[in-house]
């Protein structure tokens, strides 16, 4: 680390020794320009921009060096090693339940820890809690705005959080008394600048992790359900949590891993050709998958610090909206904008199955907490559970 600082200092000192216009690396056109007399102010500006240029070169050199180092570790492909693994048989997966009740596009859904209840939100402004096993609706809340883009179930099963274009995250406690007006009991957490694009509960009902659209950072707001204050703490945090302190974020073409404790980005991956729509940890936490508008899903390993697999096919040209792993991590489910779900063999890199059923884009996909089924929400107003 020190030697780099020294290098920067060295640069600045050399530029001070010479007259600025000579230090400038003259591009070809400049040859024909007469150097004008340079006043004091301009000199300083020129020095600043030169250090920026130097820094950029330094950054580029480091990038090159990093790529070289990483390439040395790339001794084999995952699917090559996985050739010795037994192939998976034929799968018979189909829709087991269809949940109808939303009046518009379903945008988000989440499972309850009891493995059968789900919460879903839709463009019509409704948030519905279902018992997916019986297909009964248990609660329905109307949000004051439409486009409810994010919803999540609390770990205790006693509350749901949701938000969207209203720039707020609202947390609703769920009560068994159907007559109770849930809307009256909600607690809101306001977010000033932009709309809510994702939310999830951390390990407890006390903390909700949110992400805002349009910015690189996201905020975590802790809302205490038992008390009347909403905003109690601010971290720099992100879309999904597996461990207590590490989190994943997909931001444009990059996938970042953040350490919540320090608020620092500790790893970054940029191999997708387009926006990343969804990231999900591999069950062991050592790797994660991402789905993007470039119609591919990719697997990144945190220990090797690189992409280790791509899941794509020539016949798949529509973007992936949502991905999730099966319990063992052997299967990767992807919900696509071409109304289908593709099931991939994570190790071998091949597609195991393609599932039809939805009549419009699949917008969200989650595997149930015990891995017995996965649920998809779609722009065709319905949710389907598959097993």
């Amino acid at each position: 680390m020190c030697k780099h600082y020294l290098y920067s200092i060295l640069c600045i000192s050399t530029s001070l020794c010479f007259k600025p216009f000579r230090c400038r690396s003259l591009p070809a056109q400049r040859k024909y320009m007469r150097s004008p007399p340079i006043p004091e102010m301009a000199t300083q500006e020129v020095q600043l921009s030169e250090t920026l240029a130097h820094l950029k070169t330094e950054s580029d050199t480091l990038k090159g060096k990093l790529e070289e180092e990483r390439a040395k570790l790339h001794d084999v492909e995952l699917h090559q090693v996985a050739e010795k693994v037994e192939g998976l048989g034929q799968f018979v997966m189909k829709t087991r339940r269809t949940l109808k009740g939303h009046g518009n596009k379903v945008l988000c859904m989440d499972w309850c820890k009891d493995k059968r209840r789900i919460v879903s939100s839709s463009q019509d402004g409704k948030v519905i809690v279902w018992d997916a096993f019986t297909t009964n609706k248990e609660h329905a809340v109307t949000m004051p705005c439409t486009w409810v883009m994010a919803c999540a179930y609390a770990p205790s099963g006693c509350a749901v959080a949701c938000g969207g274009l209203d720039n707020k995250c609202s947390v609703y406690p769920l009560s068994l008394d159907k007559n109770e007006n849930l809307a009256a009991k909600k607690k809101s957490v306001a977010m000033h600048t932009n709309y809510l694009s994702a939310c999830s509960f951390t390990n407890s009902d006390m903390q909700v992790r949110l992400s805002r659209m349009g910015e690189d950072t996201c905020s975590s707001f802790v809302t205490a359900l038992h008390h009347f204050f909403d905003l109690t703490e601010l971290f720099k945090v992100f879309r999904h949590v597996l461990h207590d302190f590490m989190s994943l974020q997909g931001c444009d073409k990059k996938a970042n891993v953040w350490d919540m404790r320090s608020g620092q980005c500790i790893q970054s991956f940029e191999t997708h050709e387009s926006d990343i729509n969804s990231v999900r940890y591999y069950p062991s936490g050592d790797a994660f998958a991402s789905g993007s508008d470039d119609a591919t899903c990719r697997l990144y390993d945190l220990r090797a610090d690189r992409e280790v697999a791509i899941y794509s096919k020539e016949s798949i040209i529509f973007g992936v909206s949502s991905v999730d792993f099966s319990l063992s991590g052997r299967l990767l489910f992807g919900g696509y904008n071409d109304y289908t779900i593709n099931v991939w063999d994570v190790l071998k890199g091949t597609r195991v199955s393609i599932l039809f059923g939805h009549e419009n884009r699949v917008s969200t996909l989650r595997v149930s907490p015990d891995g017995t089924a996965f649920c998809t929400g779609s722009w065709d107003h319905t949710l389907r559970t598959w097993a």
């Binding site: 950054s59 096993f133 109690t232 220990r303």
Partner: protein
């Protein structure tokens, strides 16, 4: 109207700020496919004129041909996939059936035509209702049976007439002008252009019940640098500026150039990455494979569950079994995979605690559990709880003092000056490693664990006794001796008895009114 059915009109050549929008990416891919299909010399399909009754149908392809091409050239594994992809290409307006408003692909002799590049969705058409009104009006002026308005189109026209009542004269005039232009064209060309125009409107004003594929994900709308740009008209009608701006959230910050601080941050990040110790892909691959291998037995999608998956069999007993206090053998086996797995399962946690208590060394696990709980507390409780943990486990003369190395001890006492949820992170990690290397291994060898692992046999034999003593005698007393005569029950294992009773459930329930609950128990 549209000039030239084959030339590349419209935008998309010079500056296209929306080139990276997700819809655009797909459009470009589809355009690539459609261009390849039409290229006969490069293995595309033959576009011909088909004779039908008294007339000729110019420039068509059969659905089956398209499906064949897709299967061959895009390695679509089965026709269903090719048909689905083809239907989507149609739904986006790149190919269309010549005699249907509904845009899907069929794998038969149905005839399809390719859309003119002028009408391609990638030209960012957002046609106004005035254009649509002109189009419908124009259609009514052409006295041809095949151009009659469909029901939904007639309804739309009526609605538009009401909405544009004041402007209707103008619209009528525009429609007349378009009809005049059309009449000048060659008959065959007109057929083609008419159908392409109709297909265009089928995309932007779809048949009720069909998907409107021009819809965009609102989250991606923020990319549009100029969401309120002037929309061009299909028929060259000047925009009167009455169009409502679309409700789009434009990003508050324009993209700014990287500053020195940004680059410096990047450099320090890169340096951290260079210092990181990484594993080889071969090792990583082995690790992923062994993890997956280990858990495949527990993955309901890969291995059948016992009892059956509730979603498939509609029977929720799988969940009842999982929630019961008596863990199954398989579940107990999972605790042996790693300490993380054992602690994830509440039953595993209990058993491990029980084991440690028998060894009088439970303080480590209790500390670990207390810290986990601390992380879930509401903020106002955090500092009080942190203090309690200190007093219980770490202070001088603490009742359950844990063994922490001096370094972690120092760090933790520093952290506690400003207590937060992660104050005990270092200590917790240290204790976890300690448990993993020491007590966990012993737990797996202990009687408590081993008994549970093999407990099935004990549990079953318990069942045997129960069956033979109470239930079976009871059942037999109700159902008489027909059963005993048929079998020598005392020698049979309970499972077989159960199966027998199930088989004869109908008979038994009808004749002797056996309670369904009993049968389920079986």
């Amino acid at each position: 109207m549209a000039e030239g059915s084959r030339d590349h009109g419209g935008a998309g050549t010079t500056t296209d700020p929306e080139e990276d929008s997700p819809n655009m990416i797909v459009y470009r891919k589809i355009e690539d496919i459609v261009t390849r299909i039409q290229d006969e010399k490069a293995g595309g399909v033959a576009i011909r004129t088909v004779k039908s009754f008294l007339s000729k149908i110019p420039s068509v392809v059969s659905g089956a041909d398209i499906v064949q091409w897709l299967m061959k050239n895009l390695s679509a594994e089965d026709p269903a996939e090719a048909i689905h992809l083809g239907s989507l290409i149609a739904a986006h307006g790149y190919i269309f059936p010549i005699s249907d408003h509904v845009l899907t692909l069929k794998d038969d002799g149905t005839l399809y035509r390719f859309q003119s590049p002028y009408f391609w969705p990638s030209n960012c058409w957002e046609p106004e209702n005035t254009d649509y009104a002109i189009y419908l009006c124009k259609r009514t002026m052409q006295n041809k049976a095949r151009l009659e308005l469909a029901d939904y189109e007639a309804e739309n026209l009526a609605r538009l007439q009401r909405a544009f009542a004041r402007k209707w004269e103008f619209i009528f005039m525009q429609a007349e002008a378009q009809v005049k232009i059309d009449r000048k064209k060659d008959k065959a060309e007109r057929k083609i252009l008419d159908s392409q125009e109709r297909a265009f409107w089928d995309v932007h004003r779809p048949v009720p019940g069909c998907v409107n594929t021009t819809e965009m994900d609102i989250r991606k709308c923020r990319r549009e640098k100029n969401p309120h740009r002037v929309k061009k008209s299909v028929y060259g009608v000047p925009d009167e500026g009455q169009s409502q701006p679309s409700p789009v959230h434009s990003s508050s910050q324009p993209t700014r150039k990287p500053t020195k601080e940004d680059v410096q941050k990047e450099i320090s990040f890169l340096n951290i990455q260079l210092d990181r110790h990484c594993m080889k892909v071969s090792k990583v691959a082995d690790s992923l494979m062994s993890y997956t291998e280990q858990f495949m037995d527990y993955d309901p999608f890969v291995s059948a569950t016992e009892p059956t998956n509730p979603w498939i069999s509609d029977d929720a007993s799988f969940w009842d079994v999982e929630a019961s206090r008596d863990p199954s053998q398989q579940r107990v086996k999972k605790w042996g995979f790693s300490l993380e797995e054992a602690l994830k399962d509440p039953a595993g946690r209990d058993q491990f605690l029980k084991f440690l208590e028998s060894e009088f060394s439970s303080e480590n696990l209790r500390f670990w559990l207390a810290v986990q709980d601390l992380k879930r507390r509401p903020l106002q409780d955090v500092s009080a709880r942190a203090q309690e943990i200190w007093t219980e486990f770490l202070a001088e003369g603490a009742p359950s003092s844990i063994n922490l190395d001096s370094h972690s001890y120092e760090r933790t006492s520093q952290n506690l000056k400003d207590p937060g949820r992660y104050s005990y992170e270092d200590a917790q990690e240290h204790i976890f490693k300690l448990m993993k290397s020491d007590s966990y291994a012993r737990f797996l060898r202990s009687n408590i664990y081993q008994d549970l692992l093999l407990a099935r046999k004990k549990f079953l034999s318990q069942q045997d006794d129960y069956w033979h003593s109470t239930t079976l005698k009871h059942l037999l007393s109700i159902h008489g001796y027909q059963i005993i005569k048929a079998l020598d029950l005392s020698a049979m294992c309970p499972r077989l008895i159960a199966r027998f009773l199930l088989l004869h459930y109908d008979l038994l329930s009808a004749k002797h009114k056996v309670e369904p609950r009993l049968m389920l128990y079986v």
